[in-house]
Amino acid sequence: MATQHSRSAARAMMAPAVFLLLVWMLVPLILTLWFSTLDYRPLRGTFDCCEGLGNYVRFVSSSAFWDSILTTLQLLGGVLLITVVGGIGLAILLDQPIWGQGVVRILVIAPFFVMPTVSALVWKNMFMNPVNGLFAHAFKAVGLEPVDWLSQFPLFSIILIVSWQWLPFATLILLTAIQSLDSEQLEAAEMDGAGPLSRFGYITLPHLARSITVVVLIQTIFLLSIFAEIFVTTGGAFGTRTLTYLVYQRVIESQNVGLGSAGGIIAVILANIVAAILMRVVGKNLDA
């Protein structure tokens, strides 16, 4: 019961947590905003005020910025495509009655519990290594030249690694959605003359639409900040520098805190724009 009294008591008790959260969020944000207006290069000892928007202009006008945006979008699109399509496929497979279903399902979920750094290292050294990797062995076994994945197809390799991590998440959400589909609807469609493909296209897929949008939304938010996988594998070389990674390079490698901060703020703004657009789309989908 929300009486006047209990409400003010609740407010009083929540206050410390809210205060902590605010400080936690606001202090770094305000600091970043402040830094972004400075010429702040710690190694050279410069800490000069009043750059104004100079850092922003410099960040945006460098060609690396647009390249990184493109890379980010490619990474995002590639991972979303693989996880959604693969997730639907896996979910349909896992929905079939098979022997040892419980164990198979747990195995499918497992990659989600592996830390990004660890999984990227495992992929890099165990699978994609051109000399010792499993892929190299497999290629040699069938008489093909081994591929140096991370230098020949660097972005694709990272997309593969990240997809592997996120596929379980997509599968899990889509599986629960598929299981909630009323089987009588499929039977009705069958009687109405719809073949397996039409049934998938007209009944199953629209039923999954909401879950797909949820998967896309949540993954987008996390994928925009992908870092460990790039750091561990290519270190941002060979056109795998995303916006997040570019900011990191500006701050840590170039030791230009002002420029990096401006990049960080731009990344925040862009992420918010993407989130707002997605919310629109998803919201529409969720209402229907």
Partner: protein, 334 residues
Amino acid sequence: MGRITLDKVRKAFGDVEVIPPLDLRIEDGEFVVFVGPSGCGKSTLLRLIAGLEDVSGGEIRIDGTDATHLSPAKRGLAMVFQSYALYPHMTVRKNIAFPLKMAGMDKAEIDRRVDGAAKVLNLSSYIDRRPGQLSGGQRQRVAIGRAIVREPSAFLFDEPLSNLDAALRVGMRLEISELHKRLATTMIYVTHDQVEAMTMADKIVVLRAGHIEQVGSPLELYRTPRNTFVAGFIGSPKMNLIEGAEAEKHGAHTIGVRPEHFQISAEGGTWTGTIGVSEHLGSDTFFHVTVPGFAEPLTIRAGGEVDLHYGDTIHLTPDASQIHRFDAKGLRLS
């Protein structure tokens, strides 16, 4: 056309035989109702006919041709599900048009048929809504609309009215009967509602544990039930079944008298009992009468305005021509 013949059709789920070999003929244009207690295999039988379940043995013929292994779509039957099974993301129009679209019909013909069905079923005012925005009765209508546009050779209904309230049920019952009269298409209708079975059917099939107990017109089943199961199942309230000495007087193991076949008197009669609970429906009154020596109380129908009450003594005389006699196995003695 819609003549359906089942020849020794059998269905087992794993080791459990749900439908032992069963024969049934359904003539073109007939309204056939499957009734039986819950779990007796009515839905399973319907789904076998529809092709949604594979038979474990036997043959299903539709209009003389073997349809046992045909896919559901090729059998030319339409089904209305208990949950309606409408496609939630399509409008009413798209729902109804779906089977036609799947059949590859051209747009103009689809529109013509959908509009026709919408008019017949009074759906026109909500044709652009989605199923989620409709009431139960409206959804039911859409499901029927989706079935009739295909012009199937037979309709299959699985308890289509069980999700509706009583008043709506009566209305939809009439509409389905009217539809049957107008289309003159075979309909197979599963229900466990007495009244639906009696009022709608040309032919009732009484099932028990997958067995057909009796097939016949509603009045045949009412007048000459073949065994005690059918006797107890058809008719509402249930027929009174009396065993023991009273039955032996009639040369039977069990005798059955329907509640409506008793004469009531204050002075004297064959049996004398005490009135227990009485149910006043206005047009009728049902008394539950305890008669010494009988295992169960009798249910008696009296007129609406009888002045008898709890605890009163009542004399009952069964209508001699309306006593059903059954042997020890429960089979009817003629």
